[in-house]
Structure formats: structure tokens, C-alpha cells
């Protein structure tokens, strides 16, 4: 397949995944900020939302204050923010158009309809909370439809694997970014200076990776910060955990390696990260420092993106 086609498929999947993640972040932040101040402390949750989206620096070039109105607008609708939901959908549509021949009609229809709806219904943003909730649901449903139609209709060949790689790489990055911003509320009990306030922080983290219910199923426990970290980092049954993303990345890269009859740096690098996740436990990670661990992961993960690009996409 053309390198450019693979590249477009890969980025298309990343943009859709990113849009969904942004929608989840906004949704989780709305919930937590709706609580009385006594429950969440003094942290500015909208500022955290910007940090987890990785756009804080550019945000403050345009805006003074990280409040609901500004942040929702910047993350959802801003034309200036290259990874706003609007721009993600625009970019996904442009990528889809470039690789129409590699997409099934169901996938194309999902992206094209979303793009049409974005222009027809959401071109002016949202004015009420109810509208915003509708918009966020629309974004999440688009992502679900896209994923579902890829899963149900694509041939299982390199086109599918490159697309899945985009999903998992982006997803790993997103989960790692939440951990990076919120690691301080996930430290083990004895080191922790917070208190009951943090319960809402924790549930907000879980919500942004759609893992609140999953947590209870896995641990059958009240929310405990180190278990949350365990779930998001090491538990490979949770689709958004780092371990699960890397299990999938290694599998997709292996499938490509088999189909093409050779392996390369991308396969080796991905396997290295997967092995480290497999052989870690939370104790070691806390010993090592959660923050350091996560930052290393973010660097390694984006390095994998570069290697994949070099090996296949250019």
C-alpha cells in the first residue's frame, strides 16, 4: 500500500481518537467543577484540562483565564487550536478524502456525516450546557461509530493495522497525559497529603478514560489512588490502559511484520515498551517515581510514533 495512504489512515484514526478524548475530558471536567468548592479544593480543573490536552501554552497566548467558557471553546471549537475537536474532525475528513479508496463506505459515511453535522449544527459552538452535552455526545458517538465500522467492515490487512496503530498510539498518549497531570493525587496513601477531597478527582480521572464502572468490576473496592494508577497503567483488561494499548500495538506491528515478511526498529521498540509494562508492578513504579515513569513513557511512546513514520509512512 502507498506510504501516504498508510500515513493518512494512521492519522485519521489518531484524530478521531483525540476528538473523543477531548470530549471525555471536557465532560469529566464539567462534572467535577459542578461540585461545591468544598469537594474539590482549590485546583483549577479547567487548567488541568488544558494541561492534559497538551495545549496550555498556546491557550494562554489568546486567553487570560482558564474558565469553563474559554476552555470549552478552545478545546472544542477554536480554529486556532490545531487539536480542537473541530480541527480534529476537519483533519479527519481531509485525511479520509485523501484515502477514500482505502476506507469502507461505512467509515467514510461516519466521518463525512460528522463533518456535515459539525458545519450544519455546531458551526457557532454551543450556547447552553444542554447543547454542549449534546455536542460532546455527538463527538463520542462519532468515534464509536468510526471504531465500530472499522472493526466490522475493514479487511484485516495492513490498512486495518495502520489504522489501529493510530488509535492505540493516540490512546496511550492520552492516558499517559492524564496521569502526568494528575499523578500527585494518585500517590500511595502514606505519602498523600490530600484527603476525602480527592475522591472526586479520582472519579474524574476514571471518567475521562471511561473506566469508572470498570474500576469497580476489576477491584471490587472503593476508589484507592494506587489502584487507579494500577488500572490505568498495568491492567491490560482495560482498553485505555497503557498495557492494553501496547499489547495491541505490538500485535498490530507483528501482523504487519508477518505480512511484509520483515521486522524492523518499530517492532523492537514497541516490544521493549510492552515488556517493561509487563514486568512492572506498582510498587516498583512508586519506588521509581510515578511522575518519572510516566514522563519516560510519554517520550518512548512518541518515539515509537517517529519510528513508525520513518519505517513505513515516508
Amino acid at each position: 500500500m502507498l506510504s501516504r495512504t498508510a500515513e493518512n489512515l494512521y492519522w485519521l484514526a489518531r484524530y478521531v481518537e483525540r476528538a473523543e478524548y477531548l470530549a471525555r475530558t471536557i465532560d469529566a471536567t464539567l462534572r467535577v467543577t459542578a461540585l461545591p468548592a468544598a469537594y474539590i479544593g482549590k485546583t483549577n480543573e479547567w487548567d488541568s484540562a488544558l494541561l492534559t490536552a497538551g495545549v496550555a501554552a498556546s491557550f494562554y497566548q489568546t486567553y487570560e483565564e482558564a474558565n469553563e467558557h474559554n476552555v470549552v471553546d478552545y478545546l472544542s471549537f477554536s480554529v486556532d487550536n490545531p487539536s480542537s475537536i473541530r480541527n480534529c474532525i476537519e483533519a479527519a475528513r481531509l485525511n479520509s478524502r485523501s484515502v477514500r479508496t482505502a476506507l469502507t463506505s461505512e467509515m467514510w459515511d461516519t466521518i463525512n456525516s460528522a463533518w456535515i453535522e459539525l458545519q450544519a449544527v455546531w458551526s457557532k459552538g454551543t450556547s447552553t450546557r444542554e447543547d454542549l452535552a449534546k455536542f460532546l455526545r455527538f463527538v463520542q458517538e462519532t468515534s464509536l461509530r468510526f471504531d465500530g465500522s472499522a472493526y466490522r467492515t475493514m479487511l484485516r490487512n495492513d490498512a486495518y493495522w495502520f489504522s489501529r496503530m493510530g488509535v492505540h498510539l493516540e490512546r496511550a498518549d492520552n492516558t499517559a497525559r492524564i496521569l502526568d497531570v494528575k499523578y500527585h493525587v494518585l500517590l500511595p496513601e502514606e505519602e498523600h497529603v490530600g484527603g476525602p477531597l480527592d475522591f472526586y478527582q479520582w472519579s474524574s480521572i476514571l471518567r475521562s478514560v471511561s473506566a469508572l464502572t470498570a474500576y469497580h468490576w476489576v477491584y471490587r473496592e472503593t476508589l484507592k489512588p494506587w489502584l487507579i494508577a494500577d488500572l490505568l497503567i498495568l491492567n491490560d483488561t482495560l482498553p485505555r490502559s497503557l498495557a492494553s494499548c501496547y499489547g495491541n500495538l505490538v500485535r498490530n506491528l507483528d501482523q504487519i511484520g508477518v505480512a511484509y515478511g520483515r521486522q524492523g526498529a518499530a517492532q523492537r521498540h514497541a516490544r521493549g515498551i510492552r515488556n517493561r509494562l509487563e514486568h512492572s508492578n506498582m510498587n516498583d513504579i512508586f519506588q521509581h517515581g510515578v511522575h518519572e515513569f510516566i514522563q519516560e513513557f510519554i517520550t518512548d511512546n512518541s518515539r515509537l510514533g517517529e519510528i513508525i513514520t520513518k519505517q513505513y509512512l515516508i
Partner: protein
């Protein structure tokens, strides 16, 4: 201007045979039902993403071409004649091109004047003496046909470079079959769906000798911002070939390769939808980023087939057009089956004088123009426009030709005030491979939706119709 030929109604109240069943069906079908289907069709087009771009319109870069749900119908007999004429014309076009870039018999016989070739910007000296496989230059031709009476088909324009519109022929049919299954059940309509197969077969048949037994074909597009991009992706998909951009291709040792996830892969035939000027920055426009550096040297080495060949513009030039009847006679020794529109060549003083005297009745076209841009339709133009055009014409007479305003035939069409006749033309697509020339029965019917308008170009507010050839 004469009264337009009505393709459905015979003056006096009778119907032409091909339209009888349609007329019955229209009588049974309430207008609301038609309107409902029309909206459904529009929704389908939008969802599939069948759009085109109009250059120079910033705010809406993607637009739908209006689709009219009333089919345009021709009898099998009419088609048989048209088909014969089209094959004859395309054969002559190919022989003309072969001659121009090799022996130039036609110039020596003084049938076509030298300067019309050598001073023509679309003439490509790079092609002099260049062999192209099986001497096929125009693999895909789109010949624009109009009717003014029941007997004749008239060629309005030959498109021998990168004719577009065939995706509409195919998609219009798909959508019509979805929306009006009952109407199809009442007719025997010749199918068009084998066009992609015919095209692929034609392209593979002209692969260079150095190609492997299974030649690799790719479609070269300028990219997503091109007005016909949808068609490029549609065709690549239907043909099962890669849709490549210039940056996906690389020339090494005079062979063309595409960059794939598994390394470089040789390409043998390029169905290119990029104009000559942009094909190779080393040979043509150096600022082109759409092309492939070195492509022309691989072409000269005979390692790649370009479809259509480079330099075919010289055959569809509007100034050459007026010589087509002579060109057909010269190469084939046959009378042309398809007629030409009488044409005044403004480069000739006598013709120019006539044109200047009769501007308000003539259509004046730029020799190198296309898409309906830059033309004057005398009867529809204001005095001021005509005067401005007169100055342009005097300054550069060799840049223009003039033709009488034809009363294009009309077909019933949905309008705001119910069904009404609107002017139409037809672009059938003629495919030429190593051994045979084929034409799928049908083509793209374009319709001028505005009452009285004769301009059918999509960039000027024209629409399209499904074209039915009845299989009798």
C-alpha cells in the same frame, strides 16, 4: 435562433417512441413524489461526497452538481449511429496525433496550416519522434455532442486531454436505480457499469514492453483540492488501482516507482489526471509540485505509459477543431459521420470581419479555453459586454473562434414550476486500447437548468441527468 429540437415531444402533440413509457410514468407519478425523490437524491450525493470544487469561490469549496431525476432517453438506433461516428472520430484523432509527432503528412498536404501546430502552446516538441505503445495517444476521449434535429449529431468539442465527468455517468445511474426501480422495470436500459473494467483493460493493454506480465496501473491525481478529486478517488476505487499524487512517485534509472509501506514498487501505466504542464517539473513548469521529476525521461525511455499521452492538447484545440472534418477524410478516406458546428476562424481576416459584424448572434470561444470560462454568448450578452469582447477579439484574433448560436435540443426537466424543457448536451466516453475502441452505451448528459440558458457547464450552474440508451 431556430426552435430547439424537443427530444420528447414531436410538434403537433405526439411523443417520440423512446419517451412514451416515461411519459406514461410521469402521468401516474404525482409531482410531490418527484420532488421527494429529488431531495433524496441530493442527500445521497452529499453523503457519498460526490462534490466538485469551483475555482475562485473561497467560502464553499465543495459543491454538489444539481442532479435532475428525469432521465434523458435515446433509442438504440440513435445510439448505434452515434457510436459509429464517435469511433471514427477518435480513430482520426489518434492518427492525427501520431502524424503530427512523426511524419506530418497532413501538414505537407496543407490540410492543416503549420503555424497552427508549431505556434500552439499545447504542441509538445518533446513528443517529436517519441514512440507510444500501439500508437494510442488518446486512450480516454470525452466527445461533447449536441443535437439540433432528429437526424444529426454534432460535435461541439473534442476532449482529448483529461476529460472528466464519467463518475457522474456511473453514480447517476446508481442513484436512479435506487430511487426509481419501478421506472427501470418498465424500460430496457443498456447498463453502463462495466466502464471501469473496460477502462482497466484498455490501460493494461497499452503497458510498455518492459512491464511485467501483470502491469501495475496507477491513477495520478493533483490531490484533494482538485475540482475533480472525487472522480479520481472513485475511479481508482472502481479500478482497484492506487490513487497516487506526484509525491508518491519517484523516478530511478528511468523507471517509475511508487513509495509503498513495503518499499518501492514499479508502476507501468499512469492514468494521469494532471495536465501536461504539471507532469514533470524538469521538463515543463519548474514550479509544479504536482508532478514527478524525471517522469518525461522515463517516458522517453519507454518504461512508462501515460494515458492520455503527452501533447494530445493539439488535437482538441478549438482552432484545430474546425479542421476535423478534413482530418477525418484525410486519414480514413471516409465522410465524417458526426458533423462539426460551422466555425469561423478569427485568425483568418475574412472570418474575423464576419464575426465582428455579427457578434450579437454568435458564440465566441477562446481557442485554449475550457469549462465555459471566457466565452461570449452573443444573443445573451449586454451591449457593453459585446463591446468589451470586440476589443479583446481585435487585439488577439488568433485566440478565438466563433460559431452560430446552436439551438441545443431540450429534455423535460424538473423546475420550480413543474416539468419544463431545458437544453442538454451529451459527453460519451470513448476508450481506446491496443486492439479495440469501446464506448459504454450512455454518457454524461449535462443540462442548463436556467430557462433559456445554453450553458451546461457545471462551473456555470449546469446540472446532470442520467442518460438511458434503450436496448431494443
Amino acid at each position: 435562433m431556430a426552435v430547439a429540437f424537443d427530444e420528447m415531444n414531436i410538434p403537433g402533440g405526439d411523443l417520440r417512441p423512446a419517451y412514451q413509457e416515461l411519459a406514461r410514468w410521469l402521468k401516474e407519478t404525482p409531482p410531490e413524489a418527484l420532488e421527494y425523490r429529488r431531495q433524496e437524491a441530493e442527500l445521497l450525493f452529499r453523503r457519498i461526497g460526490i462534490t466538485f470544487a469551483v475555482y475562485g469561490e473561497a467560502e464553499s469549496t465543495e459543491r454538489l452538481i444539481p442532479f435532475d431525476v428525469i432521465p434523458r432517453i435515446m433509442s438504440g438506433k440513435e445510439w448505434a449511429l452515434l457510436e459509429k461516428g464517435l469511433k471514427q472520430r477518435v480513430r482520426a484523432l489518434n492518427m492525427f496525433l501520431r502524424d503530427i509527432y512523426h511524419g506530418r503528412d497532413i501538414l505537407r498536404a496543407e490540410i492543416v496550416p503549420d503555424d497552427l501546430i508549431f505556434q500552439n502552446p499545447v504542441f509538445r516538441p518533446e513528443m517529436n519522434g517519441q514512440q507510444v505503445p500501439h500508437d494510442v495517444y488518446v486512450h480516454i476521449a470525452g466527445i461533447d455532442i449536441v443535437r439540433v434535429d432528429a437526424e444529426d449529431f454534432i460535435v461541439l468539442e473534442d476532449n482529448a486531454r483529461t476529460p472528466s465527468g464519467v463518475s457522474y455517468m456511473l453514480e447517476n445511474r446508481e442513484i436512479m436505480m435506487r430511487l426509481f426501480p419501478d421506472l427501470f422495470a418498465r424500460h430496457r436500459v443498456a447498463p453502463v457499469e462495466r466502464y471501469p473494467d473496460e477502462l482497466l483493460a484498455a490501460l493494461r493493454s497499452v503497458a510498455p514492453q518492459s512491464a511485467s506480465g501483470e502491469p501495475t496501473v496507477a491513477l495520478l491525481t493533483p490531490g484533494v483540492y482538485n475540482s475533480a478529486y472525487y472522480e479520481h478517488s472513485f475511479l481508482a476505487d472502481k479500478l482497484g488501482i492506487e490513487l497516487v499524487e506526484g509525491r508518491d512517485l519517484i523516478v530511478k534509472n528511468n523507471e517509475v516507482f511508487m513509495r509503498t509501506t513495503e518499499g518501492l514498487k514499479r508502476v507501468d501505466v499512469i492514468y494521469r489526471r494532471v495536465d501536461d504542464d504539471f507532469l514533470d517539473p524538469l521538463t515543463f513548469r519548474p514550479d509544479s509540485v504536482l508532478g514527478v521529476p524525471g517522469l518525461m525521461s522515463a517516458y522517453a525511455a519507454g518504461n512508462i505509459t501515460l494515458a492520455n499521452a503527452v501533447g494530445t492538447g493539439i488535437a482538441d484545440d478549438k482552432a484545430i477543431y474546425s479542421y476535423m472534418p478534413d482530418i477525418v477524410k484525410f486519414y480514413l478516406g471516409e465522410e465524417p459521420i458526426l458533423k462539426n458546428v460551422p466555425t469561423w476562424r478569427c485568425r483568418e481576416p475574412k472570418d474575423l470581419a464576419y464575426v465582428l459584424d455579427n457578434l450579437s448572434e454568435l458564440v465566441v470561444k477562446e481557442v485554449h479555453g475550457s469549462g465555459g470560462y471566457g466565452m461570449l454568448i452573443g444573443p445573451a450578452a449586454t451591449k457593453a459586454t459585446i463591446e468589451a469582447f470586440r476589443e479583446k477579439l481585435k487585439r488577439e484574433p488568433e485566440g478565438f473562434i466563433a460559431q452560430p448560436t446552436l439551438a441545443l435540443s431540450t429534455c423535460p426537466t424538473c423546475t420550480a414550476s413543474g416539468l419544463a424543457p431545458r437544453h442538454v448536451d451529451l459527453r460519451p466516453f470513448v476508450l481506446t486500447g491496443s486492439k479495440r475502441t469501446t464506448i459504454v452505451p450512455g454518457g454524461l448528459t449535462r443540462v442548463a437548468l436556467k430557462e433559456g440558458s445554453l450553458v451546461v457547464n457545471s462551473s456555470q450552474g449546469g446540472g446532470t441527468k442520467d442518460t438511458w440508451i434503450l436496448d431494443e
